[in-house]
Amino acid sequence: MAILVITDEHVEILLSDVLEKYGYDFTGYSRASLKRRISRVYALDKALSFAEFRYKVLNDPGYFKRFVEQITVNVTEMFRDPSFFRTLREEVLPKLGTYPFIRIWLAGCSTGEEAYSISIILKELNLLHKSLIYATDLNPSVLEKAAQSMFALSQMKQYSENYILSGGTKDFSSYYTANYSLVKFDDELKRKIIFSTHNLVSDHSFNEFQLILCRNVLIYFDRDLQHKVLDLFDESLDELGYLALGTKETIEFSRMANKYKRLPGEKIWRKIG
């Protein structure tokens, strides 16, 4: 596609449709990515015209569900950025382990790979029994997938390498059972995960946490929305709790920055003020 069929104007029309009809607010999302995603689903589904595409999004709830799933980025992996997970394992979680109870919020959990990664580390640190992971996403369909705890067997080599690089010492395959092209992770790992919908744009704080992870979500938001979401995290984080973001994300520009101290080398901040 040399010239995208979807124009900037089309994007704005769809965003206001979706906000009015369904209450999903994407107006604070970065446009370049959004426009590419919309153009992509438009082409994939071989829409005949913009009018037809718009009509379907507005009037077919099943198609709207697909639309949301396709315009949001749901790419994720287990133990992505192993050094990050090593810091969780060696520094952050042992500190939180001194508390009677650990509440973790994984915001924008997509299909759940990171939730299971954290669960594995907690189990190995012998902390899983007193932890609770709230894994949320705005997208009900990715949460359904996440709750199945099934992933592609073809990914396991990569995940196992990541796991070892992150400081894991067990045989990674001991955590799942393979079945044809899929693997299913042990039910024990998901017992302490609560999958639930939550929209960072419109929903409020729902608990107090000692650790909030939100990696590679803020990159899709404009600065105003980033401010708003960081405030929400700040509100939801206990004193001395930790906030973890993606490799290229930061809180430095935000109004809460002076209350936080960064852990050297990682995108993890501790709330100190």
Binding site: M1, A2, I3, L4, D8, S30, R31, A32, S33, R36, R37, V73, V75, N216, L218, I219, Y220, D222, R223, Q226, G246, T247, K248, E249, T250
Partner: protein, 187 residues
């Protein structure tokens, strides 16, 4: 000479060598940013900007998300993210599926930049072994921008510029020694 608001270089296998030869000769007074998108292995992050900054007095930095794009700066796309250009001339990053087995994909940067800078965009595709960048160059062309390739004869891996040549109407084919001079003549 056409006015240039952004000069974007895409490259893959065999392109680092070209950059190391070209950058020292680029005039430090250029009035536009140079944005570099090269395929590299994830996890080798900070090496490329520091390597390239030893070859030029221009400010070289890895892109931060939502950063305002400034003239006279050389920006490097971070590994493992697509680099997109927004209408307000800021960068954004995207962790969606790989394109042409690549993240960053040259196509994604070329395509989004094409819509922003339109006729004032100049894009150069260097040596490489896959066809990333070709669709991007088509967009650049369609929006009136200028399309350049490294002369495939001078490329360590000619496949990428060759594919561009086969599929896009190229404005200029440049030998390695001509690239800096071309950049320096842009306004």
């Amino acid at each position: 000479m056409k006015q240039c608001k952004a000069f974007i270089i895409g490259g893959s296998a065999g392109s680092l060598d070209v950059l190391l030869k070209v950058l020292p000769k680029v005039n430090v007074e250029i009035s536009f940013p140079i944005i570099i998108v090269v395929h590299r292995k994830h996890g080798t992050d900070s090496l490329l900007p520091s390597l390239l900054s030893t070859r030029t007095s221009l400010h070289v930095k890895e892109v931060d998300e939502k950063e305002k794009i400034k003239a006279g700066t050389i920006y490097i796309a971070p590994s493992d993210y697509h680099l997109l250009i927004e209408q307000d001339e800021t960068f954004s990053l995207d962790y969606s599926e790989k394109i042409n087995y690549s993240r960053p994909a040259i196509d994604a940067t070329f395509q989004t930049a094409a819509e922003v800078y339109q006729r004032k965009l100049v894009c150069l595709l260097l040596s490489g072994s896959n066809s990333d960048g070709v669709n991007g160059l088509k967009s650049v062309k369609a929006w009136g921008g200028t399309v350049l390739i490294q002369d495939p004869d001078s490329a360590q891996v000619p496949y990428m510029p060759e594919q561009a040549k086969l599929n896009v109407e190229i404005d200029r084919t440049l030998g390695v020694e001509d690239i800096a001079e071309f950049i320096n003549l842009l306004l």
